[in-house]
Symmetry: C2
Subunit: 274 residues, 2 copies
């Protein structure tokens, strides 16, 4: 069982870590089947880049800025006058936030570029969410998100997400996890009421939801939003993009729900090998 | 070549990611040879736990507290009055900091426990450093640290670090990386002048330094400091501990320095297979 050093901050013990790694191997196979080039995305995102993506307007409650201690606090601590930074000292922003999703950082690496062939990029990253409550491996303050991002044409996005959907449903089926595909109730990139309504009519995000209501993966259409905002052009026009996302710890959770114990869950992953 | 989304914040492109993964496989072999149980450590560390470890007294300049935005800032942002959090609003501490090393989080999982057999635990984690300057993959704001932590007896620590040293020197040799073993000039857990002098007489930290001065791995003796502070007891007494640490991106850097290009570097890793 995982231990928690603070609410929502888990340490996976060996049995769960083995499941995590085995699932990741399956996700990487899917990423390869989708033509993904593996990179290691950035662990922090600059505030000004997030602003360019309307991040703070849409998700001000999720933002987790990283700070340093001001000189006064450092001196007090070094002198041993206090063991923890005293609240009287304001934190100094570093200009970076923790990522809430893996694809932002991948998209930033493509900014201000013109591409002639579609790009498919995959990475796993730690993501962080400031939530009201946390719930085991289902809802963590920090979790791993494996993404497979497509950047190119409008039709290419549709193909990528159609194929992604098939591959996710097939993997879940082989692992014995029953999932239903549902339009997301917390759309990926839509903040206000009007836009949420729009999402119901023309969903941009579908989730793959396990029996207990845990969304373990999603496919997301970004339209050409990131292409416009980041100056990514495909054949001369703002590029369209879309991504497949796996919440890795949530798959560990779902697998344990279905199979009861880690040994049987691991057996199911091994049997699922293509 | 890696790209940088901000100073010290790298994205590894596919060729470096392949090297990273191949090196990690070698480090995991070493961890297994040392009897390490693989876990996934915590991504954030509670401030009060770090205080218990004298972290803020010794390293107040390295601390990277994670914050949220206050209500006032969230409202301004949601209304679109400003695109970035305005500096007039003080950040709200979450009570957690980013880790500067992987072993802190592993030690926290053992706190207030009595163990009868030595524990060897291994994990890879993102570590974060607030530095004055950054330098390619040699000196990053965030990098991966694979650690193999031993907790048990005083003699057991000596054995663990002796064996670790042999394994690191052997791996470096097989990879063609010339390293020298040196007492660290930035001792792992010693803050003031008196204790640094003590380190010169009886080093607690040795680094493995490549030709260009990059420390790519280290072995660290903690004496029974963590055992005392965290209430970890081995056979009834405060446990001794020590760790082996690999700076993964620094090995990528060192390998590229020696072999010139990623293809040849990858070949060297494959040839190094035991």
């Amino acid at each position: 069982m995982p231990t928690f050093v603070a609410p929502g901050i888990a340490v996976l013990e060996s049995e769960e870590t083995v499941l995590f790694d085995a699932l990741e191997a399956r996700f990487r196979e899917i990423a390869a089947a989708l033509g993904g080039r593996t990179v290691a995305g950035p662990p922090l995102l600059p505030v000004e880049d997030l602003a360019r993506l309307d991040f703070f307007r849409n998700f001000p409650h999720l933002a987790l800025p990283v700070a340093t201690l001001p000189d006064g606090a450092r001196e007090e601590l070094a002198r041993g006058e206090t063991a923890v930074p005293s609240p009287g000292h304001a934190l100094v922003p570093t200009g970076c936030c923790l990522p809430t999703a893996t694809c932002y950082g991948l998209l930033l690496t493509l900014r201000d570029s013109g591409i002639d062939t579609p790009q498919v990029v995959t990475s796993i990253g730690r993501c962080f969410r400031n939530e009201d409550h946390y719930d085991g491996l289902r809802r963590l303050r920090s979790f791993h998100m494996r993404e497979v991002l497509y950047v190119g044409s409008r039709d290419g996005v549709v193909d990528h997400l159609t194929r992604s959907t098939e591959l996710v449903l097939d993997l879940a089926d082989r692992l014995g996890i029953k999932v239903r595909r549902e339009p997301a109730t917390d759309p990926f990139y839509l903040g206000d009421g009007a836009r949420s309504l729009f999402n119901e009519l023309d969903p941009v995000k579908f989730e793959f939801v396990a029996d207990d209501g845990t969304a373990i993966a999603s496919v997301n259409r970004h339209r050409n939003f990131f292409g416009e905002r980041l100056g990514i052009r495909f054949e001369g026009e703002p590029a369209y993009s879309g991504c497949l996302a796996f919440g890795v710890e949530r798959w560990v959770h779902a697998l344990l729900q279905v199979h009861g114990d880690p040994q049987r869950a691991l057996g199911a992953i091994h049997e699922s090998a293509a």
